[in-house]
Amino acid sequence: MAARNHNQWMAKPPLEQGEWIDSRVYTDHEIFEEENEKIFKSTWIPVCHESELPKPYDFRTSSIAREPIIVCRGPDNQVRAFLNVCPHRGMMIERRPSGSFYEGQPSGNPKRMTCMFHGWQFDMKGSCVYVSREKEGYQDRLCKDDVGLRRLRCEVKFGGFVWVNLNDKAPDLETWAGKPFECLRKSLEAEPLEVFHYHKAIVDTNYKLWHDTNCEFYHDFMHYHNRVTGFNDAYFARKNEAFDNGHIVVGTFEVNYDKYEGFESRAALSFPHLPPNQWYMIDLFPGINFNLRGSALRCDVVTPLGPNKTMIEFRGLGLKSDSKEDRMTRINHHNSIWGPFGRNLHEDLIGVQGQGNTMLPGTEARRVLHGRQENQTIHDENGMRHYYDEWGRWLNRLPSSPDKPYSAPKETEAVTAAE
């Protein structure tokens, strides 16, 4: 058959349930709002790395599902997270991206989070410690103990990332993501890590499309760099392993960096316990990616801004103990592929924005194919099938027909049995 007419184009593809999805999951406003409410407000998000707040009273601000968040390190060295919202009148307490409360601010004392609006102050545990003219205004009807900050669940884990969950009842982080991290746990936890790179992108695409790209390596045809450094028997044998909760791990192989003109082996600076020039990737539901290429770790975190707008924050990390020279080498290794002017990232962003341009809210549904079956090796699309099965469960929607309730595809049972 050559090009298809409308009915043929809209027909169910000749694939099993779970091997294709309806593109309305990327374009529908109602689905987007549901995702924020049901998924992002109940999952663990790594909002920053502990090295971004190295000293007591350091803080970092972020957001999850439109909720502003502040993370701070207390004098007891513990990292805690709170809603960055004053309980008095709902003002955002801290507006800077990072800084320290050690010194006083125009509206407040040192060592306090102070709401600039009316001068209410909070300590590093989120307790309200000062209400301006408290007695005069409230006459003992409301006291400081009644108006602490909203504490959020916060864990520092898997290489020092600061994870926050808005849901007090969600499973703990180890239960949620421990198993996929097993492949890298020794490497990431051998010694303290440090962030050396940060940049972000806001692209007109759905956040799941970014995660899809991270979950599949079939798109390496887009990257000349990957084709020449990777495409060999070991590469094609690399496995996509599915884990509970929608996570996947892309297994390792030895990358031949010297096949790309001007590049060099990363072997001399491998992360601890990692064989030379290896490359692991952990993709966590619903949109977090950890990518360790020998000498440098990359972490992407998505923040959905709309059905067709996504912010992606990119971090690069090395070892805190790095010499100046080693750190610069790691930075160069990171940037040469993943920096904003590197060989790959720019192409990945063009790819997902191209998808975003064809799948705008209001465009007719597309049938997006996830049906490549290659024994769960690198070009198998099982990572995406696994993801959308989890997505369907969270929203109780069938990914291939999102107006219908979720039902498990046959393949899910096979993957679960294999585990």
Binding site: E52, R60, R96, F196, A201, F341, G342
Partner: protein, 160 residues
């Protein structure tokens, strides 16, 4: 021509070669020891970051491989203003600070039917240049582009 004028000429010549994507002509203005970097300070992580660091050989590899990489073909236009030139005491070298705004003239980067023809601000920053003066010409020894941007929606495979 004074040292200051020579330096300004070299910086503006470099801008025109880069705008015209004449990468090798641009590199011909650079010494063999040339060092190039794109940097930015991040108030998010409180760190002086390097987004790209390359010597002249690296830059040759980079531009030679451009045809093999997929890219956004929207041309970039640099508006460079030389703010200051500081010749060394012996007049053999000079440092210069220039403000640079780089605009992207949209072609195919997103949705060409809608976006092509529009110009968007791509990045802003400062060129921190070091040049040597040789036979009345300014030769680049070092260029650091200090970006103010940390939001880079789509970067570029091209030198800036």
């Amino acid at each position: 021509m004074s040292t200051c004028e020579t330096v300004r000429d070299a910086i503006y010549q470099a801008t025109m070669f880069l705008d015209a994507q004449k990468w090798n002509d641009w590199l011909s203005l650079c010494d063999e020891s040339f060092e190039y970097s794109i940097t930015s300070f991040s108030p998010e992580i409180n760190y002086d970051m390097t987004y790209l660091a390359a010597n002249k050989k690296d830059l040759h590899h980079l531009v030679d491989l451009l045809p093999k990489h997929n890219t956004d073909h929207s041309p970039l236009h640099r508006h460079t203003t030389v703010y200051s030139v500081q010749p060394s005491e012996d007049g053999k070298t000079a440092t210069a600070v220039s403000s640079v705004l780089i605009f992207q003239n949209m072609l195919d980067g997103t949705h060409s039917h809608i976006d092509a023809g529009e110009s968007r601000l791509f990045v802003i920053g400062r060129y921190m240049d070091t040049l040597k003066i040789e036979n009345g010409k300014g030769i680049f020894l070092k260029r650091e582009l200090k970006l103010d941007n940390r939001r880079l929606d789509k970067g570029s495979h091209w030198p800036l």
